[in-house]
């Protein structure tokens, strides 16, 4: 049994049944799950959560599907690391990294797809579908396999081999679409309307997006049941950014933490920065962009939650950074070299944005700040080619090693 009671339009607040619907028929506003918060308050406590599984399903009371029938491949409850070295490099004394690279398919998308696939199966769907350039496709393929559902995954025809493999290993029907980003996007929007399948980020999007709340739940629990002072979150569609804060608000509503005063700041790549651009211009209207960035997992030029992201930036006294491709690569390296976390390009965007926002005075050195690292680095190795320290190549002799090592550290005495 779930505590969800209806779908509700975020614009006009009309209510709809808990079906596979995503847009209000009257105003075209997006639909969101509404809950019976009295029931949640009655059933949940810090103890019930602590006694739950070490996965996102420990927050079952806050999710819109029956947890006893969960499609569970172990998503969630990822480490929160006190990033002392990175904090020192950036001038932040209380910096934490939420390391979502360690999810089953190595990105935070496992959270949203876990919820979407569970709800889709409950609603009677037998096919799970998506259009993706990487992480989402991997996660949909894996969850469909575990749920014994058919996966139909649409990808651009020129996707890198590793990303294709990360989906195809799970045995989905993989469809390569010839055409540019806009053409693929348009076709998939049309297909989502034409086929009665569960397109995870289209017709079951209200359920799908709820999975992102679990990042907010986990961070609060891992901090000892308190909200952070400041969150820095990469913005693609904007859903993750908005839902992390919703998670914190719901914990307060359930009486598990004090009312959050968390400032929410966003991170975007300069090559796809509709939200950061609007924010810099002081506008609440973003203009869609054509993405051109190495941070492909953030390359959403027309973000579904772009407007709500701008509202949240304004309402929480946040700020939004945009960083260049070179800064992204430097951010990936800095995170790896200081904290031992190898993140994909989106993680580089977050770290580079942390640096930018701190330098500009938007993040204070003593704020308890959490940066969200959403995907693993092995998915996007191409931007690092030529940017890393080369290996020493030696003959199998001690002398050869000493010669090579001495060239790296000429002042250090070598035995």
């Amino acid at each position: 049994m779930s505590n969800a009671k209806s779908l509700r339009c975020r614009e006009c607040h009309r209510e709809y049944p808990l079906a596979a619907l995503h847009v209000c028929e009257f105003c075209f506003g997006p639909l969101e799950v509404a809950y019976d918060y009295d029931a949640i308050r009655r059933s949940v406590s810090r103890t019930t959560v602590a006694n739950g599984p070490a996965s996102l399903w420990r927050y079952r009371d806050f999710l819109p599907c029956d947890p006893d029938a969960a499609v569970d491949i172990g998503a969630g409850f990822t480490p929160l690391i006190h990033a002392r070295n990175l904090g020192k490099a950036l001038g932040l004394r209380r910096l934490y990294i939420k390391n979502d690279t360690v999810n089953p398919t190595w990105s935070f998308k496992d959270r949203v797809v876990a919820v979407a696939s569970t709800r889709a199966r409950e609603l009677g769907f037998t096919r799970l579908a998506c259009a993706s350039t990487g992480n989402l496709a991997n996660s949909v393929s894996a969850h469909a396999a575990a749920a014994a559902m058919e996966a139909v995954v649409f990808i651009p025809h020129d996707l890198e081999a590793n990303k294709v493999l990360g989906s195809s290993v799970y045995g989905p029907t993989l469809v390569k679409v010839r055409g540019n980003y806009d053409a693929v996007n348009r076709l998939c929007a049309e297909l989502a309307g034409a086929y009665g399948w569960a397109f995870v980020n289209v017709n079951v999007r209200p359920y799908y997006s709820e999975g992102s709340k679990t990042l907010g739940f986990e961070v609060a629990e891992q901090l000892g049941w308190r909200a952070p002072d400041h969150c820095v979150v990469p913005i693609a569609s904007g859903s993750l950014f908005v839902k992390i804060r919703k998670g914190l608000d719901e914990l307060a509503q359930a009486g598990l933490i004090d009312e959050p005063k968390t400032r929410m700041s966003g991170a975007q790549a300069a090559g796809c920065s509709p939200v950061a651009t609007a924010w810099a211009e002081g506008s609440m209207n973003f203009r869609p962009q054509r993405p051109n960035t190495i941070a492909k997992s953030l390359a959403i030029g027309n973000p579904a939650d772009g407007y709500y992201s701008l509202v949240q930036l304004r309402d929480t006294d946040g700020a939004c950074a945009s960083v260049t491709d070179d800064e992204i690569v430097a951010g990936m390296k800095l995170l790896a070299e200081t904290e031992g976390v190898f993140a994909e390009t989106a993680g580089g965007v977050t770290v580079a944005s942390l640096r930018q926002l701190t330098a500009a005075g938007h993040i204070q050195p003593d704020e308890l700040t959490v940066a969200f690292i959403t995907g693993a680095g092995f998915k996007t190795v191409e931007p690092l080619e030529g940017a890393l320290r080369p290996a020493l190549e030696i003959d199998p002799t001690v002398e050869s090693f000493q010669d090579a090592y001495r060239t790296l550290q000429p002042t250090e005495a070598v035995a």
Partner: protein
């Protein structure tokens, strides 16, 4: 009869042009504005278009050729 929901985004130089009126005259397509926000520098309109599917496609190609950006109402479907 097909129904298509789209979002038009107008660049500044097209703000004063009666694009939607002209589209309704040039093509056998019924235009229904459902949401909009237009100011002096930019603007977007969410439209419901009703007509023959091929005629809707032609009307969208015409608007695009005039400089209007056309997106699905639900935002980008292709995710990372």
């Amino acid at each position: 009869m097909a129904v298509r929901r789209v979002r038009f985004t107008f660049p500044q130089e097209l703000i004063k042009e009666p694009i939607i009126y002209l589209l309704g005259h040039e093509f056998r397509v019924v235009t229904n504005v459902r949401m909009a926000d237009v100011d002096e520098t930019t603007g977007w309109v969410v439209l419901e278009l009703q007509g023959d599917a091929a005629e809707i496609d032609r009307s969208l190609a015409w608007a695009q050729a005039r400089g209007v950006r056309i997106d699905p109402v639900i935002g980008d479907v292709l995710e990372g």
